[in-house]
């Protein structure tokens, strides 16, 4: 009888030494004469506990963490393999409040299974969605997606079903499904965790999309900064092909769906869907004018579904359990769950999947445990570098697309970056402009020139002097031009962090440096 031990292969766990810990476990088990079966899994999402070691005892997984390689010999000596007590012992992982309080639909399997073992995927309910989809017509699948209330999880929150309906209604011919895996927003890593921890869920979701609208080719456009995700996806795709889940005849249905991973090359703008399509076509990733919509003329001029990783990975559960099951989570027009990422200066950073309606305060304090530095949290940025800075007075707003819009903020991709009271908000405003200047595709003037002028005016404001009042007016004017005059969200939303910082933290803009 061998003992089963689980260690993550997620990039965040590797970055904290999970490989070294795994190697130490192998050596220690050998030295102790214990037959150990080491399973490399995705991450549970409790990043502060990585490297997390889980030992299966009487059908339950007992966690220890964080376990550095140097801790392993003593831990094994204390009885790790039988789940014995130790100062690093956390208890049954599924019962830890951080996990127990979540509603994991999209991330149901992440951290539990070997990401590239399709049999484990099947044993945990995998491919039930695709199997049901194959018994429905394309129109029925699209209707189910519409009824679920799913909105684009990449940040734009456009109803996924409506996008699909448009593609479905285009005349038969070459259509594409493109997955936007260019997760460039700071503070976000749910796409990466899903792709590394449960790639078959994304593959299944894309296959459902392809079969629903009659698209036979899918592409996952993955950012170059994610080599581990690329490896996991390519490994899983090869297995899916071999087992008949991808290819010319998906599960004997007579329907074809092929899938390929394409690597980006370090351009934030490729998260914008039309520039992503340009990039896939092998061009400079300059934003396209819309219309035409990608759903009508997308990749290579053909009708294209383009969705974020989390949107596509939410489909298997929606189709398996039905639209009603999914829309029973959430509130108002924000249905279902959102994988939220707690990042930056936060004690218990990681991934929390919750139904819409949870408040920032619950996320930052009940889950996050406050700041990592122990100082008060002064501001959070939600939704990446184009998201507004939110002050403490708004921490009780419920996570909901419309409620966030009402306070001038956005939910975006669900990344929350916490800052303590040492943050200089004028510097953050300057950085927002600098980032836009670095990443602008250059096609439209407000973004290309405006961002550089923004950095210059912020430099003057921070330095101080008699012109400051005029410069602050100029900054607001510039933000107005960028917001209303830019072609896409990069130039159009860069003003959000700038003006929100100015509105909520004006004291930081009148201090000489």
């Amino acid at each position: 009888m061998s003992v089963k031990v689980y260690v993550s292969r997620d990039a965040a766990a590797l970055a904290l030494g999970a490989d070294e810990t795994a190697a130490a476990l192998v050596a220690a088990a050998q030295a102790a004469g214990t037959a150990m079966q080491l399973v490399r899994v995705g991450s549970r999402g409790m990043v502060w506990l990585e490297p997390l070691v889980e030992v299966e005892v009487a059908g339950k997984r007992i966690g220890y963490g964080p376990v550095a390689a140097a801790d392993v010999p003593a831990l094994v000596g204390a009885g790790l393999f039988s789940g014995a007590d130790h100062k690093l012992r956390l208890g049954v992982v599924d019962e830890l409040p951080y996990i127990a309080k979540q509603e994991r639909l999209t991330f149901a399997r992440v951290g539990l299974i070997d990401p590239v073992d399709v049999d484990q995927y099947l044993a945990h309910g995998g491919y039930a969605g695709l199997k049901r989809a194959l018994t429905l017509t394309g129109a029925q699948v699209v209707q189910e997606v519409t009824d679920s209330g799913l909105r684009g999880r990449g940040g734009a929150a456009f109803p996924t079903g409506i996008k699909w309906k448009t593609v479905l209604d285009q005349p038969a011919g070459q259509k594409y499904v493109v997955c936007n895996a260019d997760e460039g927003d700071s503070g976000t890593f749910s796409d990466r965790m899903l792709m590394e921890g449960d790639p078959f869920t994304l593959i299944e979701g894309m296959t459902i999309a392809g079969i629903a609208v009659g698209a036979t080719q899918g592409y996952i456009y993955l950012r170059a900064e994610y080599p581990h995700a690329a490896a996991a996806l390519n490994e899983a795709i090869a297995v899916a092909k071999q087992r008949g889940y991808l290819g010319r005849d998906v599960l004997g249905s007579g329907k074809a769906f092929e899938l390929e991973v394409r690597m980006g090359a370090g351009a934030y703008i490729c998260g914008e869907e039309t520039s992503l399509l340009e990039s896939l076509e092998g061009k400079r990733a300059e934003v396209r004018f819309r219309p035409p919509l990608p759903a009508i003329k997308g990749l290579f001029g053909q009708p294209t579904i383009i969705n974020n990783v989390i949107s596509l990975a939410s489909l298997p559960v929606i189709i398996e359990k039905g639209a009603q099951f999914y829309r029973d989570f959430g509130l108002g027009r924000s249905r279902g769950t959102l994988p939220i990422q707690l990042a930056g200066n936060i004690r218990h950073g990681g991934l929390v999947e919750k139904a819409f309606g949870v408040t920032l305060r619950e996320l930052l304090y009940d889950f996050g445990g406050g700041s990592a530095s122990g100082r008060p949290i002064r501001a959070v940025q939600v939704g990446g570098p184009l998201g507004a800075y939110i002050p403490e007075k708004d921490f009780d707003v419920q996570l909901d697309y419309e409620a966030f819009t009402a306070i001038g903020a956005l939910v975006g991709h669900g990344g929350i970056v916490a800052f303590d009271d040492t943050v200089d908000m004028a510097k953050m405003a300057r950085y927002a402009m600098e980032f836009c200047a670095i990443e602008s595709c250059g096609k439209c003037t407000p973004c290309r020139i405006g961002s550089t002028r923004g950095v210059e005016v912020m430099d003057r404001i921070m330095k101080g002097g008699p012109e400051r009042a005029a410069d602050l007016r100029l900054l607001e004017d510039l933000c107005d031009t960028m917001q209303y005059g830019s072609l896409c969200g990069l130039g159009g939303m860069t003003p959000f962090p700038v003006t929100s910082a100015l509105k909520h933290f004006p004291e930081d803009f009148v201090r000489n440096r």
Binding site: L16, E183, G282, G344
Partner: protein, 148 residues
């Protein structure tokens, strides 16, 4: 080069995969390769150069033995990546996009490495590191520095 071009020419949208393959092979995209790629894919040299120069990831000059990509995005700023950044520049004696005189290290900025709950983050070649303080950076550099 010809073998690489032949391998990718049949793909839809072959240019980025081909450029990746060239950079994986050589560490950068030499000027001479641009002409060959243009010819092989029936593009103009301007089109290929335009793509190479657009994307931050593609390099037109050879890098050092190790490439350090240091995240300077908001989540890492919230946990003090500027201190690590300043230390890296001072220790290596180079700015971003620079390579040390001994050809060992190239320093590049990254705008999010997806490790935002355990920053400051650093990628050395394809290996990711979290909570990289100046002291941790010194250890990582020392482990990779080749004695002259």
């Amino acid at each position: 080069m010809d073998a690489l071009i032949a391998r990718f020419a049949g793909l839809q949208g072959p240019l980025l995969p081909l450029l990746h393959a060239v950079q994986d092979e050589l560490g950068f995209i030499p000027r001479a390769a641009v002409a060959r790629i243009a010819e092989g894919l029936n593009l103009s040299r301007a089109e290929v150069h335009g793509v190479v120069s657009f994307y931050h990831y593609f390099r037109e000059h050879p890098p050092g033995r190790h490439v350090l990509r240091l995240c300077r995005a908001e989540a890492c700023q919230a946990v003090g990546c500027e201190a690590t950044e300043a230390h890296a520049k001072r220790t290596l004696g180079i700015d971003y996009e620079g390579t040390t005189a001994d050809g060992q290290f190239t320093l590049e900025p990254a705008y999010c490495l997806g490790n935002c709950a355990a920053g400051p983050s650093l990628m050395i070649d394809d290996k990711l590191f979290g909570r990289v303080t100046p002291a941790r950076l010194d250890e990582l550099l020392a482990a990779r520095k080749v004695r002259q």
